[in-house]
Symmetry: C2
Subunit: 463 residues, 2 copies
Amino acid sequence: MIVKTIEAAIADLKKHFGENVSEGASVRELHAHGEGYHEQHPPQAVVFAESTEDVSVAMKICNAHRVPVIAFGGGTSLEGQLNAVKGGISIDLSRMTAVLEVNVGDMDCRVQAGVTRQELNVYLRDVGLFFSVDPGGEATIGGMCATRASGTGAVRYGTIRENVLGLTVVLADGRIMRTGRRVRKSAMGYDLTHLMIGSEGTLGIITEVQLRLHGIPETMAAAVCQFETLKDCVETVVQVMQMGVPIGRMELLDDVQMDACIAYSKLEGYHPLPTMFFEFAGGPASVQEQIETVEAIVQDNRGTAFQWSTRSDERASLWKARHAAYWACLAYRPGYTGISTDAIVPISALTDMILGAKEDIEASGITAPIVGHVGDGNFHTVMLVPPGPEGIEKARALDEKLVGRALSLGGSASGEHGVGLAKIPFMVDEHDSVALDVMRAIKSALDPNIILNPGKMLPPATI
Amino acid sequence: MIVKTIEAAIADLKKHFGENVSEGASVRELHAHGEGYHEQHPPQAVVFAESTEDVSVAMKICNAHRVPVIAFGGGTSLEGQLNAVKGGISIDLSRMTAVLEVNVGDMDCRVQAGVTRQELNVYLRDVGLFFSVDPGGEATIGGMCATRASGTGAVRYGTIRENVLGLTVVLADGRIMRTGRRVRKSAMGYDLTHLMIGSEGTLGIITEVQLRLHGIPETMAAAVCQFETLKDCVETVVQVMQMGVPIGRMELLDDVQMDACIAYSKLEGYHPLPTMFFEFAGGPASVQEQIETVEAIVQDNRGTAFQWSTRSDERASLWKARHAAYWACLAYRPGYTGISTDAIVPISALTDMILGAKEDIEASGITAPIVGHVGDGNFHTVMLVPPGPEGIEKARALDEKLVGRALSLGGSASGEHGVGLAKIPFMVDEHDSVALDVMRAIKSALDPNIILNPGKMLPPATI
């Protein structure tokens, strides 16, 4: 019965989309997963959409046949969001790469969902503006919205949530909805924009995004320093935040992560010690003031070799190493599977959390470098385990411990990677049953046939 | 039938709440309106809640009897949000004034919904932190959340939307839901916090709020300058924003508003000319840098008498005059009704918008001073009209013109006052029919008996 339905849906899709529908094994395999470690689940077919109208037509066909639909962007999500666990059709938006408008005076733009953050920033290079949200990987803007993504710039410029003014969304029945206006704030009606952000394709498919941009700061500087102990390193972060320094970026790498990065990115002159990367931005006097404040805090915490530079090549090579941290981890244990954790805690609990995580990691016997956007309390450990179910089970047990710690400190299981498949059990730990019921009620109201990315995010009502 | 239902509900409420239920005419009249100009609609009774549990019990009783419920805080809303247009019970939260926790290291706190922003800032005075959202009037934090309020600090610190980490909400059936965690970001599930913010009591009643706080800046300075033309004044605003100056506050008062403020707040040494108030905040070097940049822009635009001061008494008297602008307007035409507009546009359209508004105001013959948080494109005109339906009709016609202008420039009908009764027709102009349908579907899912503030915000499906 399901097979028949799918076949009928694919036939209808082919009638409309011709060669933009693919049932080829390699294409289906490419759409069976993100960058996570999960078992793969290929969709029965992939539709390559080129416009909002394409997505609308595809949704109408799939809705008529009651066939599951998974929206697919850059394929970079980490929690199994893209896997077709109930089969169905993957709608690939990666060909929707038009920058539709740039309003320089208002510092905003409108893009199709398939534009990546890197592409957008190349496009913007000549107008003195940039898009600030920078998760790892070649994520698309649509995928970043769906995942409620974040990155190293969030401590200053906010996550994707604070940088979206409005959306175009295709609903489960194929209708096209536009949310938000081209203004910084509005008090006119329910906040559908933020309801869609972070909904992981379970309430609608985001096809266009109105984004806030930021002026490229007049002056930028980068600094690095190292610490003998992890505690001193984390305390530095906490104090910088509590002093209210408008820091641009602030990233922590523990001794293991530094060891991996030194090897992978050929960083010279650094030791495998807990390390902080800072970025400062603003007017020249403001940047100088920030550097002095941070340097004093670093010295109070026995940090060594505080070096800073405004030279863009030196800044670039340092931050390139930071952005390559995930790949450095994978290269650190060749052939191993890397499974990332994503807990976040209130900043005052960060020292307890990270020192506790370090103990948990040691007790587990797993190699797990720590790296993170610690300015907002979020950090990752990339658990490196031998491939296969046994390693994954061990990693999951460690993650559960870390999430338990984070929740008991008032934190959350995920700062920026989302729920997908892997974090569904944590939804029950993190939210009360009434909140979960309300989420389910909204899901039922907007997707009564349960065709939008089914099996993701929401735990079954029986839990 | 309805009368009987209400009577039965009140009897049940009295059984539980005793003297905390009032049917007295004066109490009912106090709960028949906000600070807007609308016809008054008293509820049949008022319940004074003292805890989330009280609100839950009252909601359960009202739900059992299918009786409308209106949440009431400071009574300061402007668009008829509080009027009991379908009768029912007003639940007054103004006795819920506990500050439940303050986490200085994390710069957050948890308050009951009835705490006002002024009360909270007095409470925080000794810990070096402040709460940044400052609408006019003695608004409660709960009411500010429900209205998606904003104020003069939004250009730097964001609106209430960016300053709430989580909520406790009583749902239509009396169940208590907690949203959000005590962290700066999370990617775990639908964003119920932002769904509730701005829902004006139509999806649930907010009883507790986890708020972000900010460090009191090391240095603050205020500046004022005046312009011969409104165009020069608005262009200054636009250029300051486009230069990316991290301005603390930036408020515009037109010639008429200044005339009113000079008389009301006894401002000496100022002329009834278009005027800008600025506030700068940060480290001393950063503040100095901001002042220099803004002064240069002011001079480019032929601004006169740029004066700045870091003295807190001088700053306070200036900003007191700004905060009293609404009352200065009312005193400007004694006995007249003041009706505030609330349009917002993209910053690049601000010059066109405000100059156009000025023309519309002149054509209407209405005295209508302009004042606004122009840094984010939002401004108000207080239309002063003789009391009675004729004046109100004239004012409404002018507002419609201004909103039409704002929408055609990509703006919104309301930056911060909300929809209530008065702006329901604009919901249809501003949102597409699919977005309105989605809002209605969410309303039906969360309030199937239509008892939460019925008749507000959402236009009937037949429109």
